[in-house]
Every structure is written in structure tokens, then in C-alpha cells.
Amino acid sequence: MIEDAVAWVLLAAVAAYACAGGTDYGAGFWDLLAGGAERGRRPRWLIDHAMAPVWETNNVWLIFVLVVMWTGFPVLFQTVFTAMWLPLALAAVGLVLRGAGFALRKPTRRLARRRVYGVVFAVSSVVTPFFLGAVVGGLATGRVAPGTKASADVWSNGTSVIAGLLTVAATAFLGAVFLTADARRFDAVDLVGYFRLRAWASLGVIAVLAVVGLVVTDDDARYVHDGLTSGIGLALVLVAAVGALATAALLYRTATGWARVTAVGSVALVVVAWGLAQRPYLIPTSLTVSQAAGASTTLRWLMLVTVIAVVLVGPPLVLLYRLDTAGALQPLTEADLRRTAAGREPESP
């Protein structure tokens, strides 16, 4: 019982990371494709402004996913990190470079340097979600079981590659939808159309990848494939598809605020559908939720910590997003930092 509840917490955290972190990765994806310093100037300016206040918060979801994993399901954690060693190691390197690239680009002022940091940030924004997606895809194929040694086969098969690509496409979609809304918020009229077009394009790519994925997973990841094409899994996927189409329509109707809601909803629903399709397994057909669960006292405490945390963290999180969307959060400008106060004259000449 309690292990199911913790599994739901884990799934919810994964969905939250997919949406919050995904939006950030998507912004990085478009940063990569924005073109040279001159042509990409305005999109990059928007990406910088839109991401800056929230990207750290969005990143912390991942830490929470990992913590719930090792506290709640130590065997799962051990299995995944042993078998998927290389892609996870690469994703970790990508995470460092990405965060550092973004953080250092802001205060850097020389163009050449900014370019370097920007490229580092943008490239790793694509690499990291790809590998994370590939890991999830590899798990879905059932190639991993407790005790599996690290090997290329578990994450370089068709399903993994498709899952990786789908993840990147989904982040690009989320990123574009949010940036369209931000462009409207910052009154950058020209960028509204720019990012709206990209949101539509990524939706098309997702559709193509989904069809390919359906074929590939048919025999490669039988268990998850069945779960997603029948019953509640199928229902959720269909709702998600409707949500995605609604997003496209809302973008056209300039209702960009609502488009964000439907876009996030559809991505979250796909994650939940995937989780349900795996039931009762954490790793299809080799490790069930109850087999992987840690000590039940710990799980109860973990739930308690989670509840307290929701009470403590929830309100500030809402406050942050509200302040952000209300435009109350603005970076300190150079002028603020340089404005010289009185009292700078030498004390005792």
C-alpha cells in the first residue's frame, strides 16, 4: 500500500521534472537553433529573460526524483545506475555544462565568451534530455533486470533512441509554447509568431516520432506497448493528444496563457500513462513496485516528509510563479550594481 503511494510520488516528481525541466531544456534547444549572434539576438534575449528566475527551481525536481528513488526503492536505484552507467554519466556531465553555461553567460559581457558559454549551454540542453529519455526507453524494453551489468545494448536499441528523440522533441514543444507566451508577456510581437511556428513544427515531429515509436516498440517493448495501446493507458494518451492539438489551436487564437496549461497537461499525462502502463512493475517484467520497496517505516517517513514539504514548499513555489508571470521579478541591472553611493570618498586622506 504505502509503496504504491511512494511510487505515485515518484511518478508525480518525474512528471513535474518532465514539465518544468523540459521547458528549460526546450528553451536551450531553441537557443541552439537560433542562428548566429546577430540573427539569434532577439530569441536569445527572450530565452535568457524567461528562464532566469525559474530555471534553478525547475532543476531541483531531478534531485527530488533521485532522492525518492534511493530512499523509497533502493534496489531500483542500484539497478538503473549500474546498468545505465554510461548514458547517466553523460547526462550528468551535460547537466554541469548546461547549468554552468547558462549561469556564466549572464554576467559575462564579452561577445566571444558569451558565445562559448551559450554553445555549451545549448548543446548540453539537447544531449541531457536525450540520454535521460534513452534511459527510460531502455527500462521500458525490459532489457534491464536487477544484477544487469552495464552494456551498450540496454540503451542503444531502437526503443531507447526513439524515446530519447521523443524526449528532446517534447522539450522543444514545451519550450516553444512557453516562449510564445513569454514573447507576448514581454511585448515582443515579432517573437510570438517565431516561437508559435516552432511549437507547431515540434508537434509535427512528435507525431511522426510517435508513429515510428509505435512500430518499433511493438515487439521491442511489448509490455509497455500493450499498456499504452489499451485500457487506461490508451485513454490517457488520447487525452494527451487532444491536449496537444488544443495547444496548437490556442496558440493560433493567441490564448497563450491557456496553451501553457494544455501543453504541460499533455506532457504530464503521457508520463502518467507510461507509469500506468508499467504497472505493477518499476522495470517491466523483472522488478515490481513491492519487490523494490525499501523498509516500510522509511516509506512512511518519506511520505510524512513529503507532506510537510508540500505544505512548506508549495506556497513559495506558487508565489514564485505568480510573481514571475506578474512581471515582478527582474534581474538587477548593471546600473543598479554600478550606481555609486555616497560614502565612497576616502575616510582619512
Binding site: 539576438r41 535568457d48 534553478e56 536505484f77 547549468g99 549572464k106 513559495p316 541591472t333 550594481l337
Partner: protein, 462 residues
């Protein structure tokens, strides 16, 4: 892992303590309407922004590494001691949210609202530190479980696993240590400016506030350091023996300052002070101190590891004692004249104190981690059982990549900080001489200059 943790731990003092010191300055600025204090607080928060971002990525990588390098430990013990990390994750979450509001709230929020929203920041940071230290204390004195026939933990008692005997001493030693370090490092920056002749109120304030905090905490840390050493003596006698180079269990044990332990138990070099070790451990020369030979050779650190732990410990203690003198010097002048010491040597020492403090943080960490060898979970799991079975060659390649990435990132981080402070100094000096600060390539190489008038007061500037 050791390397990334070693790098991350250098950022920790600032993640935990910089918000506190900044808020203190902020409070002073608001309370007294002090524009200089507000300017300092604003600039420190700009530093905090970059520092926190780097800290968050190195921290995320650490949680990956727990899995990539220690799958055995996490698989078996994750549910026993992982909860501390759970507390940390949420506290960190809160910190990330609050820091975002604080950093980006300067311009549009009401001054006092902004301050009050930032105030919970140090508390969240302390809570996060609590979670992490709880996990580490557990590794030193594991509690809260029984072992079944096959050696797996059962009957987990979470309360006992979190509140282990080492938690109290380790936590307070850690908290005071990081605030102290951040205080000395920040003050050190202004001490350098002071030495270079920039003796204005800006530098005086930037020096005095963090230095006072650090100086007050130094004697506190002295007492705490003594208490943690005694806790180690009681809870982890073999580790204590390693840090003090005690070979045979005995009374009237001498204290060695530095020196090197050989595998046959002899000690070369160093300064020997008769009886002192026993006195320090139990206030009497008759105190019996457990020696390394009390356990089989396979269950204790090697001579080299013991020497490393011993040196790290001694360096930490030595620097701590020197800082104590520095704090007394400062306190003496303040009591006598209500003014900073006039000697240039004082400021030279103060400038060095920050770096020395970072060294002690690193040494303290080495002492606790190397002193625990060969155990990763004290007396329950060896490092070799916990480590991943990924081939050593790929681990080395990975380590190589990680080292390169970290050196680049930390190097770039320092370069950016230096650039920022140089820019500010030029701006200040430019303003003093009546000229406006020129900048080479403009504020915003990305993005248009004037966005539109509705975009707010910043008019599209970065």
C-alpha cells in the same frame, strides 16, 4: 566522487552562509537608510546568483554520482539513511525558490517585503545542511537497523538513523565552520582593497560586517572543534587513533604535531608532546586511548591513510588556532578604540584568512572521510563492497572528463567573479572622478536595446 565532493564542498560555505551575511547587510542598509550597505548587499546578491547556480549543478551531479559510483551502498542502505537526503532535497527546493524571489525581487518588490521574503533563506539552507550532515553522521556512526542472517538491514528505525551520536557535534561544527569561512572570505576581499589604499566607507563596511561575524564565531568553533574530537574519541576510537597517530592502546599517550606513521608503527618527524593526547581526550594523563592495533589490519586505515588524516586534522587545528589569535587581535582593538586595527599586518592576515578557512573546510572533510577508511559505512560496509563494478578504465576516463569539466567551470566561475568586481571598481572610481563608466562592448550583446517603453524601467537593458 572524492574530487567532485571536494569541489562542491568549497562552494557550500557560500551557499549556506552568503545569504545570511547578505541579509545582515541588507537589514543594516534598510534600517539605517544606508546606501553603501544596500549597494554591498546588491552586489553580494549578484555574486550569490552565479555561485548558487554553480552550486546547484555540482550538487545535482553528486546525487547522480551516488548512483554511478556507489550503487552497492545505495542499494543496500538507501532506505536506512536516505531520508536525510529527502529532507535536504526539499530544503534545497525551498532555497532555490526563495533565492529566485530574492535575487529578482530587488527592482519591483517593496523594500521591506523583499527583505522579509529573503529572510527564510538562511533557515532553509540550515535545514538542507542538516539533512546532508545527518546522512554523513550516519555513515560515521550507523544506527537504526538490525541485520538479518544474510547481512541485510531490517527493522529500520528512522529516528535512530537520523539522530545518530555524531549528528550533533558534526552539525554544529559544520554550520559554524561554513559561516565562519564565508565571513573570512568575503572580508578578505575587502581587506585586499584596504591594503591597496581604498580606505573608504564602502570597504570599511564590506570588511567589518563579515569579519565581525567570523571573529565572534571563531572561539565558538574552537569549543565545538574540541567537542567533536572528543565525540570521535568515544564513538569511533579507531578513527581517533588514525587522526592522532596512536599505534598501541595505552595511557599517557603523547600528542604528535604532524609527523609520519610507518607500517611498523613507528613515527618519524613531527613534534612530540608527552602525555598531551591522553589529557586532551579525557582531561587526565591516565586516560586510555585506543590504538590502531586494537583492530585487525584489514579493519583500520593504512599507515598512509592515517598520516593523511592526521595531517589534515593538524592543519585544521593549526589554522583554527591562528584564526583565534586574529579574532582576539580584532576584538582587542575594537574594545580599546572602537576601531579597526591600524597595522597593515592585520589586514594581510585577514586577507589570507579566507583562503586558509577554505583549506580547513577541505581538511575537515578529508579528516572525516579518510579517517573512516576502509569503511564507507563505519564497521558495516567496506568501500570496496559499495563501489560500482564498472571497469576501472572507464571510471578513470570519466574522472578525467569530470576533472577537466570542473576545472573549466570553476575557473570560468572565478574569472566571471573577478570580472564583475573589476567592473564595479572601475565604475566606482569612474563615478568618483566624475566620468561615467565606459564599457567595452555594451551591456547587451544579445537582445535589442530599447524593447519598448512598456517593458518597465530597465528599458530592455540586461
Amino acid at each position: 566522487m572524492a574530487f567532485t565532493l571536494g569541489s562542491h564542498i568549497l562552494l557550500v560555505p557560500f551557499g549556506v552562509a552568503l545569504p545570511a551575511i547578505t541579509l545582515l547587510m541588507h537589514y543594516r542598509g534598510l534600517r539605517k537608510g544606508d546606501a553603501v550597505a544596500l549597494l554591498l548587499a546588491r552586489r553580494w546578491s549578484a555574486v550569490m546568483a552565479v555561485q548558487f547556480a554553480i552550486g546547484i549543478v555540482t550538487g545535482t551531479v553528486l546525487s547522480f554520482e551516488l548512483g554511478l559510483l556507489w550503487p552497492g551502498m545505495m542499494g543496500r542502505w538507501g532506505d536506512v539513511f536516505g531520508l536525510g537526503f529527502g529532507v535536504e532535497a526539499w530544503a534545497f527546493f525551498l532555497e532555490a525558490i526563495l533565492i529566485a524571489i530574492y535575487l529578482y525581487g530587488w527592482r519591483r518588490l517593496k523594500p521591506w517585503t523583499h527583505f522579509w521574503l529573503g529572510l527564510p533563506l538562511p533557515l532553509a539552507a540550515l535545514m538542507g545542511a542538516f539533512g546532508i550532515v545527518a546522512a554523513n553522521a550516519w555513515m560515521n556512526t550507523p544506527r537504526g537497523f538490525d541485520l538479518d542472517a544474510s547481512g541485510n538491514p531490517v527493522d529500520v528505525d528512522v529516528r535512530k538513523a537520523i539522530f545518530t551520536p555524531m549528528l550533533g557535534p558534526e552539525y554544529w561544527h559544520f554550520v559554524v565552520g561554513v559561516v565562519l569561512t564565508a565571513g573570512y572570505v568575503v572580508a578578505g576581499v575587502y581587506a585586499v582593497g584596504w591594503l591597496r589604499g581604498r580606505r573608504d566607507r564602502y570597504h570599511r563596511l564590506g570588511f567589518t560586517v563579515p569579519f565581525s561575524v567570523a571573529a565572534i564565531l571563531t572561539p565558538v568553533q574552537f569549543v565545538l572543534g574540541d567537542s567533536i574530537a572528543r565525540s570521535v574519541f568515544h564513538e569511533q576510537p579507531v578513527k581517533f587513533a588514525a587522526t592522532e597517530l596512536v599505534w598501541k592502546t595505552d595511557t599517557h599517550v603523547p600528542e604528535y604535531m604532524f609527523g609520519r606513521l610507518h607500517p611498523d608503527g613507528t613515527i618519524s618527524g613531527g613534534i612530540k608532546i608527552p602525555q598531551l593526547d591522553s589529557i586532551l581526550a579525557g582531561f587526565s594523563p591516565d586516560t586510555e586511548v585506543t590504538g590502531l592495533t586494537s583492530v585487525p589490519a584489514s579493519d583500520r586505515p593504512t599507515a598512509t591513510q592515517a598520516t593523511i588524516a592526521h595531517w589534515a586534522f593538524d592543519i585544521m587545528v593549526t589554522i583554527g588556532s591562528l584564526l583565534m589569535l586574529l579574532a582576539l587581535w580584532y576584538g582587542w582593538c575594537w574594545l580599546r578604540r572602537r576601531d579597526l586595527p591600524r597595522s597593515r599586518w592585520f589586514f594581510r592576515c585577514a586577507a589570507l584568512a579566507g583562503g586558509a578557512c577554505l583549506l580547513t573546510v577541505e581538511c575537515g572533510w578529508i579528516t572525516t572521510e579518510v579517517g573512516r577508511q576502509p569503511w564507507i559505512v563505519y564497521e558495516n560496509m567496506r568501500v570496496s563492497e559499495a563501489v560500482t563494478d564498472t571497469p576501472a578504465s572507464s571510471l578513470w576516463v570519466m574522472l578525467g572528463i569530470v576533472v577537466v569539466v570542473y576545472v573549466l567551470v570553476l575557473g570560468a566561475f572565478l574569472a566571471v567573479l573577478l570580472k564583475m568586481s573589476r567592473g564595479w571598481r572601475l565604475a566606482d572610481e569612474g563615478a568618483l572622478s566624475g566620468a561615467t563608466a565606459g564599457d567595452v562592448e555594451g551591456d547587451t550583446p544579445y537582445g535589442p536595446r530599447p524593447l519598448s517603453t512598456t517593458a518597465g524601467v530597465d528599458g530592455g537593458r540586461e
